[in-house]
Symmetry: D4
Subunit: 208 residues, 8 copies
């Protein structure tokens, strides 16, 4: 009866970035701004590093919700970009679902703003269709811990895996020997403590 | 085995506001007073906006528990109002259950004070009868985080969906195009950050 | 698949107070001392008020764990009192299990120190035997929030209901009309905010 | 050597609202949005209730900092309104200082966004000129507790009084008998717990 | 320039309990209700134990602020009791000041609800008259930590000593040998951890 | 459908310490350094005390992740020690799995750094193979509470038991009479409050 | 007797970055790693933007304390760089003091790791010599809030100003009109919420 | 008017450890037990390392307060040890004051349990006599943050320096070159993060 262990695989996964918009970011208060921004950029960098098909979508981007975070747009110039005209659940937008299906992947890595809506609704919809969903909890933001808890409970009960960008990267990479420098750089760029470890180590090595 | 995705629908849902009384409010200490009051009023405004049948009930309102929050009474002048003579679980009151059945809805949106009693008991009773229950966690208050956790665990394990008023509103609305201004006003009135986004946006638009 | 709603009934329930000892109390740091002491005494008062069969047990009471909280001993002069010679899980003590069976009750309300051992082990053992277990989370204490979470997850996954003393009292009482003054006194004695409500109310009534 | 007790007097005080703008509000993360908005509106309502001369000022309101909170503009249609073209310290703006001087008051009640800049700088400047400054700490917001502490330490060391809008209102009113209903309304509108007290009380009175 | 060490002396001190009323208690949210109630009762018990002249006062006790905490009234049946008709600062009430002066004490121990008004204002007034003021911080409550900090900063800067009821009791007692049992009982009744220490100790002693 | 109660048995269990390395320790920020170090050493001492087969493994120990905590290496000089050349999931390393199988135990007690990777992945792998897994939550560390929650949810949903080192020790010991002094020493060395209890007790005993 | 208002001036100030080293960074646990790193880089960027003379110093950089944060070294290739051979208080190092004196500035902006040693000691030494010291609290890190509070109390009592990098930047800039784009870029690069404001604003402008 | 910078000197300082007793330790709840124990032992190790004259004192050690922490007694076998018969303020005990005077030191480093009594009272007494007092805040414990704040405010206002054991050790050592290994060992033994740095560093060095 327990949830089975579904391993994320770099050939099976796609990344969905849902509504990481400038205006909506001001609603995120369950994770500190510096950390949240860093987590979102780390997830994006991970997607690029593993060359996972990535889909961007926004809600009402010409209104108060504001434009997509500039860096995301720049990181994925060729990715499908669906500016939804009104659907709150991205999965209610045909173009978005078509883009997801076009990736041919059944493992969906999802993050967005706000967790209990823009992340939870497409997560539940995708699970309903039999996809495996991995919610990146630390790249998804919401109003406070009460709303976050409700969203996590809802998605986990429905069968989603709650992960972090770091956990997902480790699953996808499997073995450091596949590329030590690449993974190390990804971590160093987004985990200050890890950067310190590498800097300290490198300096000592160089002094030999 | 996972919980299925049950979409809240505006034609299928009713709202039950249980024991949001002046005296009982002083027991609520897991959510700050300003925020809690705001969340309750937001839920009420959502119910009105989507024209959901709404039922009010109180416990011992002539005693120390005190009268219903004034604004709720004023917002729903024609709603069934059941001042329970003694039953702690509202579902033990025949008149209340009759009012719920009279709505003809099987999706019940519930909030109240205190979470582990006035919300949890009718939630468990309704689930037992096969209704779909959506607990609005942020419009339900209790003594502290320990009591809240126990209540959430209990209701979620029994099959209830833990939601927030914002998440419920988004599910019910489905698509911004159904009424941009209406939903925007609901959010602006109850989410200060969203109001700021709209004000900022509107000012710039007007200056064009 | 969801957990069914099992209503606590005053004719079906017994209370097990496990290792609320003077020395062990100093280990409790997930709930503030004033509040924890109050919660334990409230649970004891509830047991007496509803005349539930109650069993007291201690571990190593002549050693560093220290004697049972004085008030508990005094409140239940005739209750079975099992000073366990060594078993950590009270359920491993035959005399204790015999006392539980002798109550003839299948609904066991449990609390103790520390949550992940003295509460969790007999809870799991009782569930295994088919009893219905209601853990009073706020009258059970442990080292910190990490150890508490592990204990709650463990007991809830095994089928226990997580409750609070207040929730249990409300379930047992069902209807205020059964005895307004009795329940009101129980609450006033252990919930300062409720006492304030009653005092304020009474004063106004008397001034009429 | 101790700071003397300077009583705020309704004939001696003016209110300066500095940079409570829509965009800047998204920077405030040391006080929850619901509570912060409420505190700012409470301060504004207090200023109006006591008919204190009030001055509004903004910084870069046509840029990303955004327009003044709509309600403030509407509450003080006739108040001096200084949209500063660039000065960060409002006191560096001649027009602003002139408006302050024109009130003829030496007791300045200040609040704004963000605390360590828009509040602290004019506070220090005004103290330097010999004014008595009362910083309304709960209607002033900033990035986090570290920045807040620095600002408070700085202003208090320089001689400012740290107050709250509630404390200031009480000092200004002195005696409930000056106007029970007026002060009661101010409190009920901005302190949910106080509103509950009044509602409960009134209901009981009416039932006599 | 440093504040001198003024030792509290049992022959020099009086206790002022300001506005510990049932209704106002619901405003206190910077200290948990169980702990706050306990601290206030501990301060009262301390006053009685050391036979310090004690003065009770309330604000608007027939209105929403509600009656004095019942236990305080009962503990000091013969103490001066000033139900202020309207003055917010108790020191503005002649009868209150007269009662203070009548004690002939220059060391004033003050606590009340809310800290930044009912405690701070008479504290500042008394300091101005040359009294030595000892604020019992843990028997004084307010809305939140921001309002508390402002009150503490204000009173400390003006020359008041910030103390706790435990610290004050220790200063007044000076030497355990003056009465071991009396002080031990005071602590055991209001500090659960201390009660546990005493119970454990006594049990072992008795078993010798 | 509930998780069954699987009792940890000293003849059935092995301990896996995964990546408790000097460099990785600086990433742990969900548990305070003093407490975390203490918990890890307590788990190691428990493993030795119960003579459980123990396996040590590290990831990249010659790089920035740094060497194993010195004390662990010294405590288990003869334990299998697998310095993994690159596999992130220890279970992907054949030598590690072989060492686990060689213990002949089906109850695996796991802890490590970081929780959502080095603990979660082998936990999920072992569960998949039918082992019973007991995650020692307080001897496992990660970046923050969000990442911890995701890891706990993931492991618990897959069937793992979340325990603490103290809970595990109690389960393994079953009865104090098996060795009072041994267990008492283990607790005293790693629980300051328990040490205090024993010291106080012993001193009194000796004074008899 | 109050501290006078000393305005930071861009022609009068120098910046001292003390011991922001890779190894020491792992000791910082009072500010989250993402935020702390960001604050340090923001302070460095501010120093460069205002062309303030900047001095770098390290302690034991060839030992466990590790090398200076790479970005700092790169940002200030021509700045005096004093790798102290042993002195804990940088002010005890003649070369460092000489470098400070060589700037000819009397306003010293200081930050470092850890706050109560590497920041506090040179702060106290500089104050003793009559310099004006501005401690950048949010770019200084230490073990926890207790150690931070002690350091702040110590430095503030001795006459230092507690500031933040944002506050310092605003004081130095004085007027947005001096360079809107430059200051805006500094803020956007280091304050995610501010970047969002600018992005939102720019997008709307461009769409006109 | 600012507090002057008084440098702790190893020839001028004595250490006073006041009431670090087994029973009293259970009252300490403002610092986690693992960390508090570690801090006290670190302070003791520091005193020994710098060979500072050290004085031990206890209050009621044969009663519920319990014996001195075993390790302290063992660390200072030849130190003056004053078991006070009743005086709460150690300074009221002639023998204690005589022992302090006998050290010939005017810089007193003080820590103890509880902060607002056993630390604050002798601190204030010593300051009154003209000694320089350095309170080790992190080796002093009390009930909660409210009582701690009151104690810190009181001692700092009276002229004491608030320090940490780490800060004091750094001040006393002045220069790493005086003994790198000795200070490094002191830090490694009591700061887990520092131990990790040293272990990592040493391993790399050894691998050269």
């Amino acid at each position: 009866m327990a949830k089975p262990y579904v391993k994320l695989g770099r050939n099976n996964a796609a990344v969905l970035l849902v509504d990481h918009q400038a205006g909506l970011s001001s609603l995120v208060r369950d994770i500190e701004p510096d950390k949240f921004r860093n987590n979102v950029l780390a997830l994006a960098a991970m997607a690029k590093y593993f060359e996972l098909p990535t889909i961007l979508t926004t809600s009402f981007e010409n209104g108060p919700n504001g434009p997509l975070m500039t860096e995301l747009k720049e990181s994925f110039p060729d990715a499908p970009y669906i500016a939804r005209p009104g659907q709150i659940n991205a999965w209610d937008n045909e173009e978005f679902v078509k883009a997801v299906k076009a990736t041919g992947k059944k493992q969906l890595i999802i993050a967005g703003i706000v967790t209990e809506v823009c992340v939870a609704f497409p997560t539940l919809s995708a699970l309903e269709e039999g996809d495996e969903v991995f919610v990146i909890t630390d790249a998804s933001g919401t109003f406070n811990e009460v709303t976050r808890h409700s969203a996590w409970d809802c998605m986990s009960s429905a069968g989603a895996q709650l992960m972090t960008w770091f956990g997902a990267a480790c699953e996808l990479h499997r073995d450091w020997r596949n590329d030590v420098e690449g993974l190390g750089t990804l971590f160093a760029n987004h985990i200050p403590d890890y950067r310190n470890l590498i800097n300290g180590y490198t300096t000592v090595q160089n002094s030999k």
